[in-house]
């Protein structure tokens, strides 16, 4: 769930019960049907605005929180090539956050407010970043598979109806495709390396398998559907469809390298749909509600960054004795 909307029963009820001016709504929906993009100043239903803010904001948070587990490996990257690639990659993720906060701001919520809501727990970020990056092999798994999963989600979302989000996603997907290449290169290097490297990679893969299944959100059977979000092109594919697309693209690549996945039930059915063992959705719920291995730490780091540097932002905003002495 990068920028993926999953609704609780209560939220779905509010959304479906919302009432708008019928004429404006009709014109709005006709535009979307024609494939037009909705732009910031245009009329839009309140619920459209609300769900988009929530989705883009969550996506932006995922980018900047997602930079943390990888960021800790920049100083430990094993050579120049990996080090330079990893700094650039993590920098891109921060840049994506910046771009997405700007896209969300066009809908009327400030970046500061979004960051405060992240710290208070009011708004979420992708659950996958609540797991630790224990070894260098985690960089390969994250770079290849977490980024791979994110691309599946982001390419779909880039076909949505809100102009600023789509344009941000087009650029993001372009950069992500390079991330995927560096992740894949690292992944293949470890998979075809020494026994120590291979064992590291397999161990990391075992740990990340379940969070990767969780990535696209709960099964369609257990999610609240909203025809409105589909009609408004806010949500464009079901969680299960995206998950299946991911498995179909990446499981063969993992097997090709002689690696395994820790799920005896995982196989592709005759209907082209992947079946997998129960990924423990209770764990997913626990982690998303704050009880994962790294939830507290991730938020603490963001809190440090926000609060310890408040003086910098305030000083930049309030130049109370600006250039008291002539510059030349």
């Amino acid at each position: 769930m990068y920028g993926n909307t999953s609704l609780t029963a209560e939220e779905a009820k509010v959304l479906n019960a919302s009432v708008e001016d019928p004429q404006k709504l009709e014109a709005f929906e006709a535009r979307i049907t024609r494939g037009e993009k909705i732009e910031p100043g245009d009329w839009m239903p309140e619920q459209y605005r609300k769900q988009l803010i929530r989705m883009i904001e969550q996506h932006a948070h995922s980018e900047i929180v997602g930079a943390l587990p990888e960021g800790t490996w920049i100083t430990r990257a094993p050579n120049f090539k990996r080090k330079l690639a990893l700094i650039a990659k993590v920098q891109d993720e921060i840049g994506h956050g910046q771009l997405l906060y700007s896209a969300a701001e066009t809908l009327g919520k400030t970046r500061e407010q979004m960051l405060m809501d992240l710290l208070s727990g009011k708004s979420k970020y992708s659950n996958v970043f609540n797991y630790p990056a224990n070894t260098w092999a985690d960089m390969a798994v994250i770079g290849f598979l977490v980024d791979g999963a994110a691309i599946v989600n982001q390419i779909i979302n880039s076909k949505g109806s809100y102009g600023p989000y789509c344009r941000a996603l087009e650029r993001i997907c372009y950069e992500e495709s390079f991330h995927l290449k560096q992740g894949h290169d690292n992944f293949v290097y470890l998979a075809t390396g020494t026994p120590v490297q291979r064992a590291m990679l397999q161990e990391a893969l075992n740990r990340w398998y379940r969070p990767l299944l969780h990535f696209f959100g709960p099964s369609d059977r257990d999610s609240q559907h909203s025809e409105k979000l589909m009609k408004w092109r806010v949500k464009l594919a079901s969680n299960d469809d995206m998950r299946n697309q991911f498995l179909d693209q990446y499981v063969p690549k993992i097997y090709e390298l002689g690696l395994t996945l820790p799920d005896p039930e995982l196989k592709k059915g005759d209907d082209g749909i992947w079946v997998f063992g129960d990924p423990d959705w209770d764990e997913f719920k626990r982690v998303i509600n704050g009880d994962g291995p790294c939830n507290k730490e991730r938020i603490e780091v963001r809190r440090y960054s926000e609060l310890a540097h408040r003086w910098v932002r305030e000083a930049l905003l309030n130049p109370n004795e600006k250039y008291a002495i002539p510059m030349a």
């Binding site: 100083t75 921060i94 540097h309």
Partner: protein
């Protein structure tokens, strides 16, 4: 040309760039605002790239090992970086002041080196000069803004400047080869560089409304250029080589 003298110069420059790049990269994800994460991360990439290019000259011109070996497999004692770059990132005010002091020295050093008789270094200097220009612009902009922002930001800038200055002067610790390098036209020498730097930095600092700290010669933190480092370099290098050491025979 005196090989030892040139290698000594190249190593200290490469080690400075690698270690400050390492430190700058630590800001990725935790900067005071997203734009500063991006800025420090960009500068880190440039610095690490500069160190790689300098190690590459040591490798190709002087037959030493490959850049990855020189960066990731030398011991603390063999490093020639100044102690300024080794210090932890601290709070943002310190990192900014260090970046300001260090990058002005870098800008002037590379400017001097554009006319070096060592051709690969002169060529590199011409390229790097263009990148450092932006590092310096970034440092100057933030220094001026924060020195004039609020009482707190001004006090922080001044305190960090006072703290960093004895270390910054250590950048210009002379090697045993100064006369040789000057005589052979490889590099104009640390004394000249320090003079240019002091003039430049003093102008910006005083214009921004801060006091230029006066540092007694005895208080300057020397030693880095001769392999005597702060307590921080060892742990920095241990961290940097953590993965490589898991399996030194492997390609990563």
């Amino acid at each position: 040309m005196n090989t030892e003298a040139i290698k000594d110069l190249l190593y200290k420059m490469a080690d400075d760039a690698l270690v400050i790049g390492h430190r700058n990269s630590e800001w990725t994800g935790i900067g005071p605002m997203l734009e500063e994460d991006l800025a420090f991360s960009s500068m880190a990439q440039d610095k690490v790239g500069h160190s790689q290019a300098l190690y590459q000259i040591i490798h190709t011109v002087f037959g030493e090992r490959e850049p990855d070996v020189l960066a990731f497999q030398r011991s603390e004692k063999e490093f020639k970086c100044c102690q300024l770059v080794e210090l932890p990132i601290g709070e943002y005010d310190f990192s900014l002041i260090r970046h300001f002091l260090f990058d002005h020295a870098e800008a002037l050093r590379y400017e001097m080196l554009t006319t070096s008789t060592l051709m690969p270094l002169a060529q590199l200097a011409k390229k790097v000069r263009g990148e450092i220009k932006y590092h310096v612009m970034h440092a100057d902009t933030f220094l001026k803004q924060l020195a004039n922002g609020s009482e707190e930001s001004k006090a922080r800038m001044q305190a960090s400047l006072n703290y960093a200055m004895p270390y910054a002067l250590g950048i210009f610790e002379k090697s045993a080869f100064e006369d040789t390098l000057i005589g052979e036209g490889v590099f104009g020498g640390e004394e000249k560089l320090q003079h240019l730097w002091l003039e430049k930095v003093t102008g910006i600092v005083t214009t921004a409304g801060l006091q230029m700290p006066q540092v007694d010669e005895a208080k300057i933190i020397y030693g880095g250029r001769k392999g005597f480092h702060s307590e921080y370099l060892k742990s920095l290098l241990d961290e940097m080589t953590e993965v490589t050491r898991i399996d030194p025979s492997a390609e990563w």
